[in-house]
């Protein structure tokens, strides 16, 4: 195992290359599948294995930008990236993040920053996970009811569709998402998610992805791809700011990116074989695990919290790869059956 040890000169520690590849791979699979950055897996994972925390955050942001390029290329070819929508969201997000940072400074001056932010983080994660799970269970219930009565599934008008009907010019058609709405809707949603992400001190992928689905009305796959485009931009910006502060270990980021590139391809291709609501269900489970990890950290069980989040990341990656392999086997089997049927017909 010593041959896999490498000296990271900027973090000033010895680290195992295989561990960097594994962490990168795990977060690559999850990131490519859910459309998130995955900092909540990488940062504690690096930290428990000896990385100083500021370097863990900076190195993660650096590799996140590169990993998101890999996923965005694939999602783009699948038609899952709505660039126009992503740009509108980025305008709102960057403004919101700036306001969020000032809000945190104000809370800090009042001496409330730590206590308020911690509680908001847990509550937010719980609410997001609960709503996504509720949405999935409602969908299953409607499907069963429709199957029993033989009627079509009735969804009613969603909240996103009501927001789309608000006519504040300019009205824009977003091609990949197949929605027409006011430009102020994605800018506003981006602004709110930016404020929340900045206050919580996170990248925001796990907030933006459900916001794209439930507030803007994107199909799940487009929400995943579009969010990754944004993560790519914020990752590059984060890499630059932490790089100037000297808190990015480029060598570690490069090794993690190699693992993440493989994982991101697998996670991205896996969405081809999974229906949108299944992605939402696994997303809800992931958010609940993240919430539990944050609660454990606040109860001072730091190591247990990091072990939980890294183990959960590995298990969830395993589930996603399982779906991928199953899907590839079915696709090849059906293609073989079709070519065999065509061959017999010619005879």
């Amino acid at each position: 195992m010593d041959m896999f040890q490498v000296y990271l000169p900027i973090a000033g520690i010895q680290f195992n290359i295989l561990l960097l590849l594994l962490i990168g791979f795990t977060v690559g699979v999850c990131g490519g599948f859910f459309g998130i950055g995955g900092a909540w897996i990488v940062t504690p994972a690096l930290n428990i294995f000896g990385f100083p925390m500021p370097y863990a955050i900076g190195t993660d942001l650096a590799h996140m930008g590169g990993k998101s390029i890999v996923s965005t290329i694939r999602h783009g070819k699948f038609g899952n990236v709505d660039v126009r929508l992503a740009v509108a969201m980025i305008i709102g997000t960057t403004t919101g993040m700036e306001l969020g940072a000032r809000l945190v400074m104000h809370l800090e001056q009042l001496g409330l920053a730590e206590s308020v932010i911690r509680k908001i983080y847990v509550v937010f994660l719980f609410l997001i996970g609960s709503y996504v799970l509720y949405d999935y269970l409602s969908h299953i219930f409607r499907q069963r009811k429709a199957a029993e009565s033989g009627a079509a599934v009735y969804t009613g008008e969603t909240f996103a569709q009501k927001l789309q009907r608000v006519r504040i010019p300019p009205m824009i058609h977003f091609k990949s998402s197949k929605i027409t709405c006011s430009l102020w809707l994605p800018v506003g949603v981006g602004f709110v998610t930016g404020v929340v992400a900045s206050v919580l001190g996170v990248g925001g992928g796990f907030i933006r992805m459900p916001a794209l689905i439930y507030l803007i009305g994107c199909p799940t796959l487009v929400a995943v791809g579009t969010d990754l485009f944004e993560v790519m931009i914020t990752g590059a910006y984060g890499a630059f700011t932490y790089g100037i502060k000297g808190r990015v270990d480029l060598l570690a980021a490069m090794w993690m990116l190699v693992g993440a590139a493989v994982g991101a391809q697998m996670g991205t291709v896996a969405v081809k074989y999974v229906r949108g609501y299944s992605i939402r269900l696994l997303f809800a489970v992931t958010i609940f695990i993240a919430c539990s990890s944050v609660v454990m950290k606040q109860l001072k069980y730091q190591t247990a919290s990091s072990v939980l989040i890294l183990s959960a990341g590995i298990v969830i990656s395993g589930v996603i790869i399982g779906w991928l392999v199953q899907g590839i086997i079915k696709e090849r089997a059906s293609r073989q059956a079709r070519s065999w049927a065509a061959f017999k017909k010619e005879d």
Partner: protein
């Protein structure tokens, strides 16, 4: 005024003798106070430096030297490296996945 000054100058040796003890005591208190103020929490590192002393020539050493030379250039190097690596690996692995025979065309967005 002139007379006051003359009186003061005549008395000055005795004044300085009387001030000697309280003067040194004040100086000691001030110096000790500064010394105590300098203690407390250890000072944080002002500049981080990558240790290249025991490193062999190669990519790691080059990166560490870039880090030590100029952090702005280093930050630019980070962004460019990640972007280039991401693009090359992205297109490369994309091509490899295509060789598996999977249909990688546009997806239908079914929920």
């Amino acid at each position: 005024m002139k007379q006051r000054l003359q009186r003061l100058l005549r008395k000055s040796p005795t004044i300085w003798q009387k001030l000697r003890v309280p003067g040194w005591a004040t100086a000691l208190v001030l110096i000790a106070g500064q010394a105590l103020a300098a203690g407390g929490k250890p000072a944080t590192k002002l500049i981080n430096v990558a240790d290249t002393r025991a490193m062999d020539p190669g990519l790691s050493r080059w990166i560490a030297e870039a880090y030590n030379d100029n952090l702005w250039l280093y930050a630019l190097l980070v962004v460019v490296t990640m972007a280039l690596m991401g693009s090359i690996l992205g297109f490369g692995f994309d091509h490899l996945v295509g060789l598996l025979g999977i249909d990688l065309g546009k997806l239908e967005h079914h929920e």
